[in-house]
């Protein structure tokens, strides 16, 4: 939701990034204020997922130029774990399986690590158990979920719910949801969306990376952006997503190219 006088959480300026020498992001500009929900859409290979991972600090990507300010601080100077502790959260498109590591143990470690870095109280195993079970209700998760290994043998829907559960635990300032809707059936989509909507408030911001309008039926964005070839080529309100659904991406691309010719 757009609030008056809200603070800028994320400010990306002319960001360029490459992987193995191949440029992927080309002069990316993007600003997010607290309370807002943004959707980044675009065809495959447009750089959406790269952008998410660059913000989270994945080491495969080299930043060649540009700046990223997170709550006014240089985000690019921070290691991935420092970004997470500062409040940048990425819900993964493909959450990693970690066989042998118990989910409850993992969730408690991540929760306590982030809490301690924020100068807040850590929870012992019993306290944490109560706390996490409360959060699990929100996502309609089964009790035995805590006893299983992290994501190991989880269905697509369970993995995505686990991501949102972690978001609920870590209370990030900026949550980036990378194709959280992919691989979800309609019930799972509803549950995950309900969770995200519950967690959205005036102090945080959410960036949805998605291919499809259907997620945006459940989580209504304040802004919709279209990415192509490593940059945002069009931004609009939630109605833009509906237009993309009926007309596809080509017209946006054509419009952008025409505008570029005029400018030249």
């Amino acid at each position: 939701m757009i609030y008056p006088n809200s603070k800028t959480i994320l400010e990306v300026r002319n960001l360029c990034a490459s992987v193995s020498g191949t440029p992927i992001l080309k002069n990316m500009n993007f600003t997010v204020k607290s309370g807002e929900v943004h959707a980044i859409m675009g065809p495959n290979g447009s750089g959406k997922s790269t952008f998410s991972k660059v913000l989270a600090g994945h080491s495969d990507y080299e930043i060649t130029s540009g700046t990223v300010l997170f709550e006014g601080k240089d985000l690019l100077a921070l290691a991935p774990e420092e970004r997470a502790r500062a409040g940048v959260f990425l819900a993964f498109q493909y959450p990693i399986e970690i066989p042998g590591v118990g989910n409850s143990q993992f969730l408690r470690l991540t929760y306590n690590t982030v809490q301690s870095h924020r100068g807040k109280e850590e929870l012992d195993p019993l306290e944490f158990d109560d706390f996490v079970r409360e959060k699990m209700k929100l996502l309609e998760m089964r009790e035995d979920f805590l006893d299983r290994s992290v994501n190991a043998g989880f269905s697509g829907g369970e993995k995505k719910r686990n991501e949102i559960l972690q978001m609920a635990l870590l209370e990030p300032r900026l949550a980036i949801l990378d194709e959280t809707d992919s691989g979800l059936d309609i019930d799972a989509l509803r549950i995950v969306s309900k969770g995200v909507n519950y967690l959205a408030n005036k102090d945080n911001a959410i960036v949805l990376v998605t291919h499809y309008q259907r997620l945006l039926d459940y989580i209504v964005p304040d802004f919709v952006h279209v990415m192509e070839a490593g940059r945002i080529i069009k931004s609009g309100g939630k109605e833009l997503a509906l237009e993309l659904e009926t007309r596809g991406y080509d017209w946006v691309s054509d419009e952008y190219k025409a505008a570029a010719r005029v400018a030249a």
């Binding site: 989270a56 600090g57 994945h58 080491s59 495969d60 290691a79 991935p80 774990e81 970004r83 997470a84 502790r85 959260f89 990425l90 993964f92 959450p95 990693i96 970690i98 066989p99 042998g100 590591v101 118990g102 143990q105 993992f106 470690l109 991540t110 690590t113 982030v114 870095h117 290994s149 972690q166 870590l170």
Partner: protein, 478 residues
Amino acid sequence: MSAALQNIINQPYKHGFVTDIESDVAAKGLDESTIRMISAKRNEPEWLLDFRLKSYAAWLRMTEPNWQNAHYPQIDFQAISYYSAPKQKPKLKSMDEVDPELLRTFEKLGVPLHERMALAGVAVDVIFDSVSVTTTYKEKLAEVGVIFCSFSEAVKEHPELVQKYLGTVIPSSDNFYAALNSAVFTDGSFCFIPKGVKCPMDLSTYFRINTEESGQFERTLIIAEEGASVSYLEGCTAPAFSSNQLHAAVVELVALDNADIKYSTVQNWYAGDENGIGGIYNFVTKRGLAQGVNSRISWTQVETGSAITWKYPSVVLLGDNSVGEFYSVALTNHHQQADTGTKMIHIGKNTRSTIVSKGISAGKSNNSYRGLVKIAPSASGARNYSQCDSMLIGQESGAHTFPYIQVANNTAQVEHEASTSKIGEDQMFYFAQRGIDAEAAVSMIINGFCKDVFQQLPLEFAVEATNLLSFKLEGSVG
């Protein structure tokens, strides 16, 4: 791999120091006179000298094996000193009499002997370069008839037991290194649990190699009579030397009817520096004979040290319904090479064996599981379950599995499962994205991977093992 993470892997060996204790070291080289000298130094009876000389004769006829998946320069067996004993007062009545320098060594290793004994109730038979320095809790054990002493003391005090069982599980002609050990072993531990006795405490031995260039030839013999049970702990560390040290121990276990022996090892010997220079060659023969009906022998090992580890703690399942178990974690880093596994030889009816092996390879190391499951024609209804999991860390390490399965009875059931996984960048990134640094992440992944083995260890050992793996590996992925 980032520089910071590289630094963590390359942490120098924590226990790398040489204790300054005068040692009585034999001249290098091996011939019959060396063996007579060792035997004479130890005032051994004639039958033991005979055993040594027969073993030596067998050894001379054998050739050094070269089938293992490990590479190292030819060992010059004449360049090794076969006897080394710290100069000590001959008999110690209490801990106060122990050389303070020796006690400080144990302090550095994190083995506070007094505390360990008092708090954990563990009797520690301290081995320091082949000679037992002190044996504790002996009286308490004696009350229930348990004998726990140095091997040399057993030869003096209980010669009939030693003579009856020595070499019965691992004959001196068994293999090249067992034959060498049988010829030149200096000391080790001896345990005897009489009929019907449940040993009231875990028995523990801390080994430590101290004198440069001295071969270590420990000899351990554990006997559990009918209905007896014992849990035995072996832990090892060694100082950092630049030249390789050969260690060829022999451990024999005998379990009679309804007896139960659990043998746990945490091994952290010097593995060489990050370029693979130095480090211990650990060529060990360990075997248990589940001789009686319903007997059980269980090996648990956590192998983290040595330049080369070459050992196969095995169980011969002779008694009907006997059980053999092997739980192993082998971790290699830098240029370490480990070729380890087990042999389960099923002879008795309805014998059962379980093998759980976890290999972790980091750096440029090579980690092999090699295991034999053999079902003899007589072993009707025998069952084996084997699980071999390998984990690779980084791009340059190797993991290998060599399972040998020989079944000669069609009522047997043999299962083998294997998996290979990798701590990848993506796993590490996932942890990092949740605020967890690389060290904590690797520690958590490794402990999860090894959980099935760690839960077999006695509690205080499990804690040590967890710390040890974390210490050796934290942050080795980035």
